[in-house]
Amino acid sequence: MIKPLSRDQIAMRVAQDVPDGAYVNLGIGLPTLVANYVPSDREVIYHSENGILGMGPAPPKGSEDPDLINASKQYVTLLPGGCYFRHDDAFVMIRGGHIDLALLGAMQVAANGDLANWSTDNEKIPPGVGGAMDLAAGAKQVWILMEHVGRDGRPKILERCTFPLTAPAVVQRIYSSLAVIDVTPEGLLVREMVEALAFDELQEKTGARLRLANDWRPIAIAS
């Protein structure tokens, strides 16, 4: 019986790979959960595009500061050692390659690392890009967290994205609800799969050709 990872389990799995001392930007939605699971012996510095380094967890109810919010407009706190800066400086950090790791959600990812995560090209819905293109173009590494397939069951990992791109060839790694997949010059390489999933089944749910790493292993979530 195949059990896809829950959103929290995806976040837990990613958290294991976030290096000690890294400067990390968490995209809106699923990526924000990662902060809850980074091992306590690692010191990770969270960056927010609205001018914060050293973001801490959500404040206790009643002590929220309406002027202290993250990119998702949720209340946050500031850790000792954290600081505030101008919006333009926040993007100097992003565009200038100072962010070690951007953890982002995605609508689609292509086999060459193309990322689509800002627009479904629906003319009735006003598009919103926010800082997605800057993060995708500027961060040293871009890792994607997402469900392996869409709600309609259609693959989100494709040979070519059909939605408008956020940036071409920027994704290094995909953490999906079914697998951990590296984007390599030779294409997509499956490093890990959830228990009981056969490679053929994974390929079937994927719109691009996969290869299985020789040293692949089942996804392990520390619980």
């Binding site: 927010s48 333009d88 890009v129 408008p164 940036a167």
Partner: protein, 228 residues
């Protein structure tokens, strides 16, 4: 004597013309100059171009200005947020022009406007539809898009404290677009929670030097932005 204090929000936005470009600070509901925006509403200026990260939420401040049909065009990075009903209605009805700009490009274009930079090349949006129609150039082995500066006739921003020279400090992430917008407008109007004596602000910690500020009005207890 250099004294940038004005007595009312009306005075702070006086002279704003129909067709003006107005830079409005804030990200989410933090740092939005609610009272100054309402002063623009009361002033009556129309056909405005608004440059702001978001496109208002709820029914007050920017959302109210939009709902009254006073904005011809909005330049922003993320118009659709929870509660951006006013904007969405105008957009669906084709009654507002939207120029969507990646957030880092938006801040950098405003900075260029304030810094006297004629244009700049940025890697952001290369290979995407937001670079369509723009010059792309290969520099040092990478592709970049040419982007133009943004300047405002007015900038409306919120600060925590000010002095009569217009020096400003902010609070937490409400700082956001304030400093960069202050530098890029002909008239920068600030609503400050408090106005202190000259010399009371630490010279090592002033975030916006007064040279960028033209009018300061004290609004001790500002409304929260984005109210429904």
């Amino acid at each position: 004597m250099l004294d940038k204090r004005v007595k009312s929000v009306a005075e702070a936005v006086a002279g704003i013309r129909d067709g003006a470009t107005v830079l409005i600070g804030g990200f989410g509901n933090a740092g939005i100059p609610v009272e100054l925006i309402h002063a623009v509403i009361d002033h009556g200026a129309r056909e405005l171009t608004v440059v702001s990260n978001n496109a208002g939420s709820g029914r007050t401040d920017l959302a109210a200005l939009l709902a009254m049909g006073r904005v011809r065009k909005i330049v922003c990075s993320y118009p659709k947020t929870s509660g951006s009903v006013a904007f969405e209605e105008l957009y669906a009805a084709g009654r507002i022009e939207l120029e969507l700009v990646p957030q880092g490009t938006l801040t950098e274009r405003i900075r260029a406007g304030g810094a006297g930079i004629g244009a700049f090349y940025t890697p952001t949006a290369v290979g995407t539809m937001l670079a369509q129609g723009k010059e792309v150039r290969r520099l040092n082995g990478h592709d970049y898009v040419l982007e133009m500066p943004i300047k405002g006739d007015f900038a409306l921003i919120q600060a925590k404290r000010a002095d009569r020279w217009g020096n400003l400090v902010y609070h937490a992430s409400a700082r956001n677009f304030g400093p960069v917008m202050a530098s890029a407008a002909t008239v920068t109007a600030v609503q400050a929670g408090e106005i202190v004596e000259l010399g009371a602000l630490d010279p090592e910690a002033i975030v916006t030097p007064g040279i960028y500020v033209h009018r300061v009005v004290c609004v001790p207890n500002p409304q929260q932005a984005g109210q429904p």
